[in-house]
Amino acid sequence: MDRSFLRIYHLLCVLVLVFLIANEGFSQAININGGNITLTITTGMPDVQQLTSVTNSTCTMQYRRQARISKITVAATCPGQSFNLSVVATNITISGTAQPTVSLISGNPAMDFIRDNSTAGARRSCTLNYTASATFAQGCSTNVGNDVYTVTYTLVVQ
């Protein structure tokens, strides 16, 4: 009875280890460098509806080749979204084709961000170019609060 219990216990330990290793590999397929960022709109022009937009390109993303041709999609959540945020990939190295600028609207389905990530070559990277925009009519953070987006990039088979 004790031997059986020990055997099952050891088996479970090994399984947990295998599971953790599998998931570790899974999570490192794509990662973002640069952490969280803030874009602040500070100016506008009289009689021009659109405020002066602000861009940020301090973050980069690294992703790996996979066994099959893959792509990266982007989606965002932002409770109580008031303003506009878009993103486009630039400076892609090794492999992948940037897709047109994606407007990030909270809750919308994931959109293609980079396609044609080939199965060969070393680890690749790109720059994440964010643009924040707003109109006078959309108000200001003092009245409606900041927009805090959680932007998620997913590496999937194409």
Binding site: S4, R7, L11, V14, L15, V18, A22, F26, S27, Q28, I30, I32, G34, N36, I37, T38, L39, T40, I41, T42, T43, G44, M45, P46, D47, V48, Q49, L51, N56, C59, M61, Y63, R64, S82, F83, N84, L85, A132, A134, T135, F136, A137, Q138, G139, C140, S141, T142, N143, N146, D147, V148, Y149, T150, V151, T152, Y153, T154, L155, V156, V157
Partner: protein, 181 residues
């Protein structure tokens, strides 16, 4: 007893292999061919922004009786001239604002009046123009009830002179301001 133990051993081994393979393939099967995800937070802040401008930046010259719109009638003491070449532009992303105007000239010889017309704003919550009034050194409301918007209007200046005041020149520096209502 030995046979039973051997059977148990093989059963465990088979289960182990099966479960291990399942776990290795799990990411590729259950996640719909998803290889990985990464997220970060992006915060967008929009400051309170209020901008205003006039074009041309210099106040037009209203000349009596030489102005194009001057009205001078023989036997009538009051003479007038108007100018509508100034466009006022603004933008605000704050609620309930107003535009005021005042002059730097404390003791003018003549009267300078203003009227905001043809207000166009986006969105259409245009604001409410005050009627024509005489500009003084005290800030007076020119347009009220401005919502979060950008827009423009025409400023119609009217110079009023009495013949009895004689010849002279008034030089005004006009200040237009967007403030909370």
């Amino acid at each position: 007893m030995k046979t039973r133990m051997t059977s148990l051993f093989y059963k465990s081994k088979i289960s182990f292999i099966a479960i291990t393979l399942f776990l290795i393939l799990l990411p590729r099967i259950s996640f719909g061919q998803t290889y990985g995800t990464a997220s970060h937070n992006v915060t967008v802040i929009v400051n309170a922004i209020t901008v205003i401008s006039v074009t041309p930046t210099t106040v037009p010259t209203l000349t009596i009786p030489g102005g194009a719109t001057a009205v001078v009638t023989a036997g009538v003491d009051q003479m007038t001239v108007t100018d509508n070449t100034t466009v006022l532009k603004w933008g605000t992303n704050q609620t309930l604002r107003k535009i005021t105007i005042y002059t730097s000239l404390a003791s003018p010889l003549y009267t300078l009046q203003v009227l905001a017309t043809n207000i166009v704003a986006t969105p259409g919550t245009a604001g409410l123009a005050a009627g024509q009034f005489t500009i003084s050194t005290l800030a007076q409301d020119l347009i009220t009830n401005l919502a979060q918007s950008s827009g423009h209007c025409t400023l119609v200046y009217t110079g009023v002179a009495l013949a009895s005041k004689g010849i002279g020149t008034d030089s005004h520096t006009l200040t237009l301001t967007i403030t909370a209502q």
